[in-house]
């Protein structure tokens, strides 16, 4: 996909993520909306995987370590044809294939079960190491949350990836500056993620996490970087796309009130019209 198409793809992901969450009526809006552009760049251009190749070990792998972003991943996978759109409206319903946090045994296209923070990035290092041992020419992508990086296990995984020079691993940090209880800087100061990753032996870059162009270019560079794993730190906004939610202090998990619902509906209507899905 070219940049224009990637931008359109991002709009589609945001549109269906909102419809999916709103159908349920509550969920992880904030952290789903902040990863829309990176999902568009990964799935729209860089991830060599499709419903046809989901069992091919030579495909690329993706792990959503910040599992609470599941709704955005599901919208993306549905758009890529892993399952029909109707499934999106079963999110978190009894007996669903789309639980709050991704489950590799329930959802086609999900490579790893995540949700207990810190464990997904660890699994991603294992996938990348396995692919390196098997001499497969592929990549493993993983998105971790900025809050998730509180978890000690993340830093174990980061050390392991650097030590083993997993150049086939690309880590994304969704630096939306917030975690469940407030700003990351107030809960547990992350200091400078770029400095930290660099010190841990990563090829590090920070980009605008809502520019598919910037993300896509960073991935292209990371793919050819040799000798080190790469991290792309994404400057993002929690709840991106709906001003009302962006400005809310507690936007990690929402049960939208009337005013918020109105704002969400207006955004769905607006994106729908832009995409030509709604007239």
């Amino acid at each position: 996909m070219e940049i224009k198409e990637l931008e359109k793809f991002a709009k589609e992901i945001r549109y269906y993520t909102l419809k999916e969450l709103n159908y349920m009526g509550y969920g992880h809006y904030g952290g789903s909306l902040s990863i829309v552009e990176v999902l568009a760049a990964i799935y729209g251009k860089h991830l060599n995987a499709s419903p046809e190749t989901k069992d091919d070990p030579n495909r690329d792998y993706f792990v959503l370590s910040k599992g609470h972003g599941g709704p955005a991943l599901y919208a993306t996978l549905s758009l890529k044809g892993y399952f029909p759109e109707e499934w999106l409206y079963t999110l978190n319903q009894n007996g669903t294939n789309l639980p709050s946090h991704p489950d590799r045994n329930k959802t086609p296209g999900v490579d790893m079960t995540t949700g207990s923070l810190g464990q997904g990035i660890s699994a991603a290092t294992g996938i990348a190491l396995g692919n390196k041992i098997a001499e497969r020419n592929n990549f493993t992508f993983t998105i971790v949350g900025d809050g998730e990086l509180n978890e000690g296990q993340c830093w174990e995984a980061i050390q392991m990836a650097a030590h083993n020079q997993l150049e086939n691993l690309i880590v994304f940090v969704d630096d939306n500056k917030k975690q469940l209880d407030g700003y990351t800087i107030d809960i547990s100061n992350p200091f400078d993620f770029a400095e930290k990753f660099t010190a841990f032996g990563f090829n590090t870059v920070r980009v605008d996490g809502h520019s598919v162009k910037a993300i896509s270019e960073a991935i292209t560079s990371a793919k050819v970087f040799k000798g080190k794993p790469s991290v792309i730190i994404l400057d993002t906004i929690k709840g991106k796309g709906i001003k009302h939610i962006e400005e809310m202090m507690d936007n990690h998990h929402l049960r939208p009130d009337d005013e918020t619902n109105k704002a969400i509906q207006a955004t769905i209507q607006q994106i729908g019209e832009e995409l030509g899905v709604l007239v």
Binding site: R104, M112, G118, S122, G126, A134, E156, M160
Partner: protein, 325 residues
């Protein structure tokens, strides 16, 4: 009944594990072994060359060791994970529970230094709870192995198994119990049959159970002895067969909560209420000391088995008299 004599196994548990890895890594390129800086303790440092890049020492990072193993399983490998039992269970329970089991990824964990055999490493390194934790994981297969012939067989079974297995073992030479070619299919080995009392033991307590049976026989008491090497799924039929004596002693190098004693009591309570006494660690933490000293501290001795067996038989007789009145 022939008297049981203690002879040490010619091999160590750790060399058995290392040899198994070499054999199966040669046979199957999907076999990988993970360590968290305890490779020298379990002798996998001696197989570095044979294993090549399929022996992965992540350093002192047990959470990453398990998470990385889960990822390797996603990429199509069969991981064998080793660390000391407390780290393999207490320390990384959520990783084992979710990244491996909830995610339905096939892997094997070898938890070493079972209970008191952690000796000088003391309470921090002494697992009395690992079997309880692992038994609570849905669909997990849980073993405590007693000698090298058994360990090799169980490792081979776990390799074939598409699920998750936890194998609890000591590191060094066990007492020899089985000869080569012995089959381990049912989860319980009946080592001796008697009508008065049944002693169900696992791991290092199996040979003690046999020695206790010797002493009881000298006093005219005939004991059944079973080696319960698979705690989950448990062989219910064999437990019910043991209950025919009407008195069951369980002996485990583990907390009495959640381990062998509990596993047996669960079957009996639901199927055939039977008098039982659990020999095991009661409301105590680990500590430093030689295994023999520690066994005495926790009542894991031949003497205690003999004495509890006699008391239980008395209780049984008393209850028989009561019910016949």
């Amino acid at each position: 009944m022939k008297e049981f004599k203690v002879t040490l196994d010619e091999a160590e548990m750790r060399t058995t594990y290392a040899n198994f890895l070499v054999d199966f890594a040669k046979k199957d390129e999907k076999v990988v072994a993970l360590e968290a800086d305890l490779s020298s303790a379990i002798a996998t440092n001696k197989i570095k060359k044979a294993m090549g890049n399929r022996l992965i020492n992540v350093g002192i990072m047990e959470a990453e060791e398990v998470g990385c193993a889960a990822g390797l399983a996603v990429a199509g490998f069969k991981p064998f994970i080793h660390t000391f039992g407390p780290f393999a269970s207490r320390r990384v329970y959520d990783q084992v529970f979710l990244s491996l089991n909830y995610a339905q990824l096939s892997a094997v964990i070898l938890g070493s230094d079972a209970g008191v055999t952690a000796e000088a490493n003391g309470g921090t390194h002494m697992p009395f709870e690992d079997l309880a934790l692992m038994r609570a994981i849905p669909k997990a297969t849980v073993y405590e192995v007693s000698d090298t012939t058994m360990l090799r067989a169980i490792l081979e079974q776990s390799y074939e198994d598409t699920g998750f297995s936890y194998i609890r073992t000591i590191r060094k030479q066990p007492v020899k119990l089985y000869s080569e070619g012995e089959l381990f299919e049912s989860g319980i080995k009946v080592l001796r049959e008697g009508k008065d009392v049944s002693i169900l033991a696992s791991g290092i307590m199996v040979s003690d159970a046999m020695l206790a049976a010797n002493e009881l026989a000298a006093e005219g008491i005939e004991a059944t002895v079973m080696d319960v090497y698979r705690l989950k799924p448990i062989n219910k039929e064999a437990v019910l067969q043991a209950a025919e004596t009407g008195a069951i002693i369980t002996a485990e190098n583990h907390n009495i909560v959640g381990g062998l004693g509990s596993a047996i009591a669960e079957v009996l309570a639901e199927e055939k209420p039977t008098l039982q006494y659990r020999i095991g660690v009661r409301e105590q933490f680990g500590q430093v000391g030689k295994a023999d000293y520690l066994k005495e501290q926790y009542g894991l001795t031949v003497e205690n088995i003999v004495s509890q067996a006699k008391q239980l038989i008395k209780k049984k007789e008393k209850m028989k008299t009561l019910t016949s009145i």
